[in-house]
């Protein structure tokens, strides 16, 4: 596309005033604004139109550029955040350098914040005048292109991370999958059946886990954490620390004989996967279908680590492969990738924060996740519902909204608990035929097949009581029976119901270290502490840091279908970024006029993006890292730093334009 040489020629400006439907024209006399613009020096044509951003609107600009030999364009409409890209592209399509364009916001800055039409129109005129004066000084800048590293990283190996990794690996990208735990699988690996289909979680998850293990394009790193992220979109350098499992991964074949051979005849350490409902040995595998299928040693429990005087029967049985290495140390490595998907998942609400429900005090009170392990055939009780006191429950209470919808803990709704409560009620009913009581405030079963699931469970004879339980206390003289007291709001009466087992539907929370993790990736957290997406409706998987995407519950509570959908979306956006092959950088960067730089180094420490370095007595700005915030420009005592699109002359012209009638 040939560009008209505007260079030092007389500016020929086209001004376009948008009605934006009635958004602008309801408060601003757009015709008057258009007429006022006509009279401005340098303006060759001015028009007003209902929707400048539409195709016909853009066509007008392109046609005028061609027909009237325009070399500058000003559009007075909405916020540049919305349509600066649109109009720059239209200008470029019309044959002009896109940076010969200036956008004026007369919607958010005038029409939407004022009521008086005369005053608002006068203000719009001032703003347009300013833009017309300024645009005449614009330079034909070029957006710089930087190549993109084709590799990607997924942080977190739960279902979100797994799905994102597989999607990108199938597209031919090399994926680094970094997981903190000894195995991938995340929370989903702990579930028994999933709603609404009652698919066995392991049955649908493990094939994906196996695919990950086998995929030639996925490099799975378990026992690993990201400790630092450097660089910028398309060119990230991520430092990953690999924590020792004291087993040589390549040597171990997962025969598990070392576990049998361990000098501990019975497990003595709380089994984390079973949430403390059972015990494990110091050498263990988190769950039978773990990927990688490799054991690990817990130094806090292992006699060899604690005393140095163990018989090491584990080493004996592993003689052939010699996979056990007590000396193994943590290692770090730097990995370069073009994009990162953060899929670090969630934590469950700590029910001890609500003493009224007795969790931790009363043996019969369980969290939902603990019950998932109980009903699971590979769980601590082989799928039998046996309580801590050894009995089987005849009556069970399921209490919704534990830690959720409560200003005293978390104000938000955790979204999945109504469905998983119904699921657990169904499974418990199936296994025990106990009287089951669900205490809820609202039933939130909005997903596909969810309402039908609710109906199915209701028909099974489970009691639904609309009222949140206020108190759980043991019956006097019968500590195994727990009395649940709640107002049955639909019946308008208080009820007291003795049960043997209480299931607390604990909500979802961001991980404890979410604040630290967000800093590492330079993203933000929103209300509730979950990672913040770029836009709640239109950009749910990207963040304000280009190249860092989000997937799964780390962005907000959600169920497995939504998690997988979001992971696919994140993978798609990451692929779009990578496959473009290059990143186009906004040219509004700062630059140093070397002959004026005195080497005072004031700017170096001020840059929030670490893009300024100091060499040979002069400051140097890395164009690629610079985000154009303007801090160094303002701070430089010598005035040696200037900024494209925000040069002093351009700004002074704008000010002069605004103040003309002042």
């Amino acid at each position: 596309m040939s560009e008209l040489s505007a260079g030092n020629g007389t500016p020929r400006v086209g001004v376009y005033v948008c009605h934006c439907g009635t958004n602008i024209s309801a408060t601003i006399d757009v015709v008057a604004a258009q007429q006022a613009a006509e009279t401005l020096p340098g303006v060759v044509i001015s028009r007003e139109y209902k929707y400048m951003c539409s195709d016909p609107g853009q066509e007008i600009i392109k046609k005028d550029i061609h027909d009237l030999d325009l070399n500058r364009v000003v559009v007075a409409s909405c916020s540049p955040c919305l349509h600066e890209e649109t109009f720059r592209k239209a200008v470029a399509d019309g044959g002009l350098n896109p940076y010969y364009f200036q956008m004026v916001n007369i919607r958010e800055h005038a029409a939407w914040v004022h009521k008086d039409m005369a005053a608002a129109t006068a203000k719009a005129n001032d703003l347009i005048r300013a833009a017309v004066r300024r645009v005449r000084l614009h330079q034909p800048l070029e957006a710089r292109r930087v190549p993109v590293d084709p590799n990607v990283m997924v942080v977190g190996g739960g279902i979100a991370g797994i799905h994102a990794a597989l999607t990108m690996a199938d597209a031919g990208k090399h994926v680094y999958l970094v997981e903190r735990e000894p195995s991938i699988g995340g929370h989903m690996a702990m579930f028994d059946k999933t709603f609404p289909t009652l698919d066995c979680a392991a049955c649908i998850l493990t094939p994906k886990m196996t695919r990950v293990r086998a995929h030639p394009n996925i490099e799975t790193m378990t026992m690993s954490e990201v400790t630092a992220v450097d660089g910028f979109v398309g060119n990230y350098t991520v430092t990953v620390r690999h924590n020792p499992r004291f087993i040589i991964e390549d040597a171990c074949v997962g025969c598990l004989e070392c576990i049998d051979a361990c000098v501990f005849r019975n497990g003595k350490t709380q089994d984390e996967f079973n949430l403390g409902l059972s015990k494990r040995k110091p050498i263990y595998i988190p769950f039978p279908q773990a990927v990688p299928q490799v054991v690990l040693i817990d130094p806090a429990g292992c006699i060899e680590f604690r005393t140095g005087k163990c018989k090491k029967t584990c080493v004996e049985v592993c003689a052939e492969r010699n996979a056990i290495d007590f000396q193994q140390e943590a290692t770090t490595e730097d990995i370069t990738v073009g994009a990162v998907i953060v899929a670090t998942g969630f934590e469950t609400f700590d029910a001890t924060r609500l003493p009224r429900y007795g969790y931790g005090n009363l043996d019969g009170v369980y969290t939902a996740l603990e019950v998932e392990r109980l009903v699971n055939a590979s769980g601590p009780t082989d799928g039998e519902i046996v309580l801590r006191n050894g009995r089987k429950p005849e009556a069970i209470g399921v209490i919704h909204c534990i830690g959720s919808r409560d200003k005293n803990t978390n104000e938000y709704c955790s979204r999945v608990c109504c469905m998983y409560s119904l699921k657990l009620s169904h499974l418990l009913k199936e296994k025990t035929d106990a009287e089951i009581y669900e205490f809820y405030i609202d039933m939130r079963t909005a997903g596909k097949g969810f309402e039908e699931f609710y109906n199915r469970v209701a028909e099974e004879g489970i009691h639904f009581i609309r009222g949140k339980v206020a108190d759980v206390y043991p019956e006097a003289g019968n500590p195994d029976k727990l009395v649940l007291q709640a107002e049955d709001t639909l019946a308008g009466m208080v009820r007291q119901i003795p049960v043997d087992m209480v299931v607390l539907a604990t909500g979802l929370e961001p991980r404890q270290d979410a604040e630290d993790v967000r800093r590492t990736f330079n993203i933000t957290c929103s209300g509730g502490g979950f990672f913040m997406e770029r836009h709640p409706k239109l950009a749910p998987v990207s963040t304000f840091t280009d190249g860092v995407f989000l997937a799964g519950a780390c962005q907000g509570p959600k169920d497995i279908p939504d998690t997988v959908a979001q992971a696919g979306a994140a993978a798609a956006e990451a692929l779009a970024l990578i496959d473009a092959g290059f990143i186009e950088l906004e040219p509004n960067t700062a630059f140093v006029v070397e002959e004026n730089c005195s080497g005072c180094k004031t700017c170096v420490g001020l840059c929030p993006f670490n893009s300024i370095s100091y060499a040979d007595g002069k400051a140097q700005i890395n164009e690629v890292l610079c985000k154009g915030c303007g801090t160094c420009v303002a701070a430089c005592p010598s005035g040696a730093i200037r900024q494209n699109l925000f040069d002093d002359d351009e700004i002074f012209e704008e000010i002069a334009g605004v103040l003309t009638n002042a």
Binding site: A470, D488, V494
Partner: protein
């Protein structure tokens, strides 16, 4: 057999009362009540109440003033604050109850001869005049106004109290009770200016 029509129409609602009620707590928090039932569930007196705090506040929000101000729920409340500490919307339910008690008395809609508002008014009157409350006179006054038959059962306890010296038969009074009465009159003149709890 005669039946009663149970339907309420919009004209049964007292919109001013509803607005007064929701204005009791800042930021219209009373409108944020999600009716979880924790207040009624945790209330030790709910088993005796006609409505319970939750339903009472729901009716108040909708403007059914007569039901609310004539209920016994308000008077059974003992201000134990179990509701207040439970509420997920952090509504100060107990303080709302106090406001309803005052409104019921002011508007004259409190159930007549109900011992609790009767007692509260006698208590206030006694304290206003003398600065202290003497239990035996309070009970005696209550008995006379609410029906002495209710309190005959108390004679056993009363005799016990006399025997063990746990009753004072002298009307207790503070020295500067005139000042106190003047103080209460002085603030009463500013009644409308009180800020919300």
């Amino acid at each position: 057999m005669a039946t009663e029509v149970m339907v309420r129409s919009e004209s049964d609602r007292d919109v001013e009362f509803a607005a007064w009620f929701t204005g009791l707590v800042g930021e219209q928090k009373l409108r944020a009540c999600i009716h979880c039932g924790l207040c009624s569930g945790s209330c030790p007196l709910a088993r005796h109440m006609d409505f319970g705090p939750r339903k009472l506040m729901y009716l108040a929000r909708e403007g059914f003033a007569d039901d609310v101000l004539g209920s016994d729920t308000i008077w059974l409340c003992t201000s134990c604050y179990a509701c207040t500490v439970s509420c997920p919307q952090q509504i100060p339910v107990t303080d709302v109850m106090y406001a309803l008690k005052r409104k019921a008395i002011e508007s004259g809609k409190a159930p007549k001869h109900h011992p609790v508002p009767v007692m509260a008014k006698s208590f206030a009157k006694m304290v206003r005049r003398r600065g202290r409350m003497t239990e035996v006179f309070l009970i005696a006054g209550l008995a006379l106004r609410s029906g002495i038959h209710r309190y005959l059962g108390m004679t056993g306890m009363g005799l016990n109290a006399l025997r063990t010296g746990r009753v004072s038969l002298r009307r207790d009074s503070i020295k500067r009770h005139d000042e106190l009465t003047r103080l209460l009159d002085a603030v009463a003149a500013h009644r409308e200016k009180v800020t919300r709890p």
